[in-house]
């Protein structure tokens, strides 16, 4: 497996962990009976659990954009040291994002998001 594909798999693991953390963080405020029920009346998450939810939702969106980029580069056989650098930068930025969001750090979180966004764009340019 190429290093870029391994990074995609590792990022998949990170997203799974973020979803799990969000569910665990949401359990005390919402209660297990609500979570395992059909959730017919919406309940808002606030504070840290809300941040964990928004971070997980954003991670899924980032995955939907990162995965095709890696697969395109793979299909074109266009792996270079630059694409590996972009994939690594993406993973590190998203790891930082996952930690910075629950901590509620402004600017730094947005910066981490931006690095991940630009790294993804670089992969698409490499695939073209």
């Amino acid at each position: 497996m190429s290093n870029e594909l391994s990074i995609l798999a590792l990022y998949g693991l990170l997203v799974l962990v973020q979803i799990l953390v969000h569910v665990l963080a949401a359990t005390p405020p919402l209660g297990l009976p609500y979570l395992v029920g059909p959730r017919d009346e919406p309940r808002e998450l606030t504070g840290v659990p809300g941040r964990c939810k928004r971070a997980a939702d954003n991670a899924v969106v980032a995955l939907a954009l990162f995965a095709p980029a890696v697969l395109l580069v793979q299909a074109r056989g266009a792996f270079t040291p630059d694409t590996l650098l972009a994939a690594r930068a993406f993973l590190l930025a998203r790891l930082a994002y996952a930690v910075l969001y629950p901590l509620g750090l402004p600017w730094l979180r947005t910066l981490a998001w931006l690095v991940g966004f630009i790294a993804t764009a670089c992969l698409y340019f490499a695939a073209l």
Partner: protein, 131 residues
């Protein structure tokens, strides 16, 4: 084509069928006049309880499907397809199929249990691709 890829195609078809089912119920609740509009305002009539559940089931499966997609592709492209990953893939599909009636009927706590089965099937495949 690996069995995992076949399951991926089936899972995507399941999601399209699920989306069509929700759209049919939403049109019944809200009226085609609203659903075909630009939806600038919230609908005057709310979605029924059942349609709301179908909508949340579709939304949840988009999240699951993105993760399952990278699980199948990393397993396939990394030549890591084994009996374990194939079983996990079929388990995922079965879980996501059962998730729809479990949500529609509000089966507590089975909807969450079924969701967990799909989650761990995906986790198994991603871990297998990395080993």
């Amino acid at each position: 084509m690996t069995p995992e890829l076949t399951v991926l195609a089936l899972a995507a078809l399941l999601q399209m069928a699920q989306l069509a089912l929700f759209a049919a119920f939403a049109n019944r609740d809200l009226g085609a006049g609203y659903t075909t509009s630009a939806r600038d305002r919230p609908p005057s009539r709310p979605l029924s309880i059942l349609s709301g559940r179908l909508q949340r089931a579709v939304t949840n499966h988009f999240e699951g499907l993105i993760l399952f997609t990278i699980a199948t592709l990393t397993v396939t492209l990394g030549h890591q397809s084994t009996a374990t990953t194939q079983t996990a893939a079929w388990t995922y599909l079965g879980a996501r199929l059962l998730y729809i009636p479990a949500y529609a009927f509000g089966l507590r706590p089975w909807r969450s249990v079924i969701w967990g089965v799909g989650f761990f099937a995906t986790l198994t495949m991603i871990l297998a691709s990395l080993i």
